[in-house]
């Protein structure tokens, strides 16, 4: 018995030794910068002067944050972006996954094509679409004009009513296939016998979808949904490249970076960052609670 516990203690020590390098890296690259950002959020300090000359202001930055109209705008934009893009990506992704899950010639080609938007860097896809959206020479206007869906060219990214939907469309294009791949993996884990048995019993395709596919897909759907939500909440690249810091589309992350870097307000910008951190931490905590990971 004693020997056994001594063996266990040794195993524990070995395990921690193996973990040590990773934990050290994460301490330097994640924990320390996060702590520093938190600290800085209580100071007024410029990013331009090194060494830093911080001036303690207590909770002033947070008080200002709660009343800041631009923060509210960016919060609203992020909320709209998240809800609309995640909803569209889930519905379209499920549709594509169901279509690709059927047996047909050229399925391999289809699956490869689905990975293309995912593999393209976000910045590159944002630039591609920015050019396609061009009000005079853009192909989007040309196609819509040819199809008689619009009467005259639209200024997709400078019209305040169209800019956010335009950016969301790009995110949907880029991320729907990824969603579809995650859901496809879920679909393929559903045994064929269930469908065969229910067909014998006379169930329609529609009934099969609601009674078999959807309930059994729920775990995969939930994981994909939560990951996409966390991702959408911190959106930066696509918005920054397509519309810069324009308030009509500015997300929380774009606003935080504008404060931190463009305005050099290291203290206030850090308070904005901590606001984002808190919001996303709440969602992440909900995810961790709902996720049941097998550890052993």
């Amino acid at each position: 018995m004693i020997q056994r516990s001594r063996l266990a203690a040794r195993r524990t020590r070995t395990a921690w030794l193996f973990l040590l390098p990773s934990l050290l890296v994460l301490l330097v690259a994640a924990a320390y910068p996060l702590w520093r950002t938190f600290q800085l959020s209580f100071y007024q300090v410029s990013i331009l002067q090194f060494p830093l000359q911080p001036e303690w202001v207590g909770f002033d930055n947070y008080r200002f944050l709660l009343a800041d109209p631009y923060w509210r705008v960016s919060l609203k934009n992020t909320a709209v972006f998240t809800v609309v893009s995640v909803a569209l990506e889930t519905v379209l992704g499920l549709g594509i996954a169901l279509a690709v899950n059927a047996r047909f010639a050229g399925r391999g080609l289809m699956r490869t094509a689905m990975l293309v938007p995912w593999a393209i860097p976000t910045v590159v896809s944002a630039q591609m679409w920015r050019w396609m959206y061009n009000d005079v020479y853009g192909v989007v206007n040309d196609l819509l004009l040819r199809a008689h869906l619009i009467a005259q060219p639209l200024a997709w990214l400078s019209d305040p009513h169209l800019a956010l939907p335009g950016v969301i469309a790009v995110d949907v294009w880029k991320t729907t296939p990824f969603m579809a791949l995650l859901l496809l993996a879920g679909l393929q884990s559903i045994p064929d016998e269930l469908y065969e048995a229910s067909t014998v019993d006379g169930a329609s395709g529609w009934q099969q979808f609601w009674r078999i596919t959807l309930p059994l897909l729920k775990p995969a759907l939930l994981v994909a949904l939560i990951f996409r939500t966390l991702d959408a909440l911190r959106v930066f690249d696509v918005i920054y490249v397509m519309t810069g810091t324009n308030p009509t589309t500015m997300s929380m992350s774009v606003y935080a970076r504008q404060q931190l870097v463009d305005f050099g307000a290291l203290g206030y910008g850090s308070a904005v960052s901590m606001g984002i951190f808190l919001i996303i931490a709440l969602f992440a905590a909900a995810y961790l609670v709902s996720l049941r990971v097998e550890l052993d």
Partner: protein, 279 residues
């Protein structure tokens, strides 16, 4: 299987063709635009295939823009990040995948939550850290910063791979008196090779595509990576963006990624679904 009517089959293939077109068209458009001359690019109505395709834009990207340097920067940064993540992450994955010990759950969830937290929340602190280490505008600044997301992710993917490897071989090695380090190096690492390739590829792609840190921690082309360069390409004047060059550069960085995806399709999908990760 029910018998399908011919028109429902036709409809199904039309739907698939439409999805395919939707997924691939933007990339096709970038290729077409990159082959056009400036006159053709700014011509209405839009041409769907250039009348005189030419490669000049691809040459200009390297002569009029410092794109070669940007490619070098991206390759070095993404390569170093991947190597370090695999090196450090594989021992951690071994501990998490094979050992039972106190505090394992805590470690696991800590790693997982680091993977999920937003990059923007460390931007200020990371900037200060990088400045005080004297790393601002260097490759190492980006390598350090990228470990935040590549390392937890590598650990996560490798841990799930290790759990699927049968234990018998290691147990035999332990009986023969091998130490845990020897077991990891001699027995487990060769078996983990497919997992290392998958995790490495995913880490490389993540680092290659990263934008926010690269934009903030570099100031000129000595360390500026490809995504930042493509976002900041400028032409003769502020109002005249060199679209043909931007599209040519976009095609240049996307083609290798598409080739990688084609070659490693199966592995990428299995890695992504194992980790259910961010895109």
């Amino acid at each position: 299987m029910r018998r399908r009517r011919w028109w429902s089959t036709l409809l199904f293939y039309l739907l698939l063709a439409f999805i395919l077109l939707y997924l691939v068209f933007p990339f096709y458009w970038a290729v077409v635009s990159s082959l056009k001359s400036p006159q053709e690019l700014f011509e209405t109505p839009v041409r769907y295939w250039p009348a005189h395709p030419r490669w000049q834009n691809y040459v200009d990207v390297f002569t009029q823009q410092p794109f070669g340097r940007n490619l070098l920067n991206s390759t070095v940064v993404a390569g170093l990040t991947t190597l370090l993540s695999l090196l450090v992450g594989s021992t951690a994955a071994y501990a998490l995948g094979r050992f039972r010990f106190m505090g394992k759950r805590t470690v696991f969830f800590t790693v997982l939550s680091v993977a999920m937290f937003p990059q923007i929340s460390v931007l200020g602190g990371m900037f200060v850290l990088i400045r005080s280490l004297g790393l601002y505008n260097t490759w190492w600044a980006l390598v350090l910063a990228y470990m935040i997301f590549t390392l937890p992710f590598t650990i996560w993917v490798l841990t799930s791979f290790i759990r699927e490897i049968p234990r018998e071989l290691e147990e035999a090695a332990f009986v023969d008196g091998a130490s845990p380090v020897q077991v990891l190096r001699i027995v487990l690492l060769p078996l983990m090779a497919p997992g290392l390739v998958t995790a490495g590829l995913l880490a490389f792609i993540q680092a290659w595509n990263e934008f926010l840190f690269a934009l903030t921690f570099t100031i000129d082309n000595s360390a500026r990576t490809v995504p930042v360069a493509i976002a900041l390409f400028s032409g003769a004047s502020q109002y005249e963006l060199p679209w043909a060059q931007i599209m040519a550069a976009s095609v240049i960085v996307t083609v290798p990624l598409i080739v990688l995806v084609l070659v490693f399709q199966q592995r990428l999908v299995s890695g992504l679904t194992a980790g259910a990760v961010k895109g």
